[in-house]
Symmetry: C2
Subunit: 239 residues, 2 copies
DNA sequence: CAAGTGTTTTGAACATGTTCAAGAAATTGG
DNA sequence: CCAATTTCTTGAACATGTTCAAAACACTTG
């Protein structure tokens, strides 16, 4: 599998790439062609032959840069994640209210993804396979996941909300998990403009924020403690 | 697509089938062959040619009964869902404690699925695609979903727990959703015997039950009301 | 510059899911 | 029992993701 020793497919994830100008340009051409075709005809309907032709290279060459058709999705992820981070930053720079920050980040994501809505489901189909390196829970996507969780860490840290001490450490990860839930909902949301997803986020975010505040109350304390202990224990059982 | 007018692939779901004995036997042979091969070599590694050969029919014939390789998964679902229902019933017949009933139903499911753990992920990959008829949220799988939700209705109704009135109507569906979450976790659980998943269920079920009890408290009342209202609203927005 | 070494590119060949036109087998109607 | 009709079965053909050996290219070294 030549592509494995070839320029790393996910190199763009970290932001830095060290490739010759030629290789780099071919790679970009393939990604551009692929994303354009994906957007126009969907993932399944786009053939590797079509991508190669559109990019002006041979099929084999495309496989030199991307181990499989699925691996092109990684490139898509990297691109949209960067777009999202940029877009979210604009909100985070000006808002200090936790609720507004959370909603802002979710809305930014929905907006960035809008052009790809129609076929993003196909993407997530592949991402849903546990053994797939594209799964958001896979070891291979650890860097991307960390980047994503960091965004939620920022959401929390930059806010003026008073977070109960017990929650501090785990909250960003928990919010990321909440966000994954929103994404899952979005994938199945057929409404134009993702209306349902926006409604879901707009209404659940306040609940989440309120619940965080409630966490210090005695009634919820013990349940929360149970939950946090469980998370620790789950992490403890090795694979 | 001849198979579309052919004996319905999901006929077994409802339980009743009206097919000639010959057709029925061929169909069963294909399913048996497929599931055996899936269990032994996994989903991807099993070719339609192998399934056909193992079942003693031609490839084309397999496609007469099943529109695609994915559609064989539906048969798998139907089978395991029936097994689960049977197994869960034994618990429901003897337990009245809500917590015990819930844990029993989850444990029964984990046990039924254990032989398929290794490759079940591949199944769910396909189920995760929103447009796939195999998605648990798709219109096509409405009957199967209803059956599954009914099981949780039974869990609630047969218990001696005092359920807050506001929750009564939605609780079974919410528990089913909780169960889907457990399933999602299970899919990604690499521990032998699904140890992590069992731990998750054993610890979260008591939290869920406790939270149900807490729902009548004033602090949670409003949040719960918001949540229920949201569910109604989400159902309201048409696709 | 020539030889050597590593990188990039090519297109034919392969594997497998799927289709389809044709035929065999069963069923029905007279 | 024959003809017509429906159901079932077949295997070759097709589409597309993927591989691979060979060639083209780029770059270093003597």
């Amino acid at each position: 599998m030549p592509a494995d020793d070839a320029p790393a497919d996910d190199a763009a994830a970290a932001g830095e790439v060290e490739l010759g100008p030629k290789a780099s340009r071919t790679r970009s051409a393939i990604i551009d062609a692929a994303l354009r075709l994906f957007r126009e005809h969907g993932f399944e309907a786009t053939t590797m032959r079509a991508i190669a032709t559109e990019a002006g290279v041979s099929v084999g060459n495309a496989y030199y840069y991307f181990a499989s058709k699925e691996h092109l999705i990684q490139a898509f992820y990297d691109r949209t994640q960067a777009d999202h981070a940029r877009s979210a930053q604009r909100v985070l720079d000006r808002e200090t209210d936790l609720e507004a920050r959370m909603i802002g980040v979710v809305e930014a994501w929905v907006e960035v993804m809008e052009p790809y809505r129609a076929f993003a489901g196909t993407f997530f189909k592949n991402a849903a396979e546990p053994t797939s390196p594209l799964s958001p829970f896979s070891p291979e996507s650890t860097p991307a996941r960390e980047t994503s969780i960091d965004l939620w860490r920022q959401v929390v840290q930059g806010s003026d909300a008073r977070i109960p001490k017990v929650l501090r450490a785990e909250l960003p990860e928990l919010l990321w998990l909440y966000f994954m839930g929103v994404v899952l909902y979005w994938v199945h949301d057929p409404t134009p403009g993702a209306a349902r997803t926006r409604l879901l986020a707009g209404r659940t975010v306040p609940m989440v924020v309120r619940t965080i505040g409630l966490a210090r109350l005695p009634v919820l304390r013990s349940t929360l403690a149970d939950l946090l202990a469980l998370i620790q224990d789950l992490k403890g059982i090795s694979a």
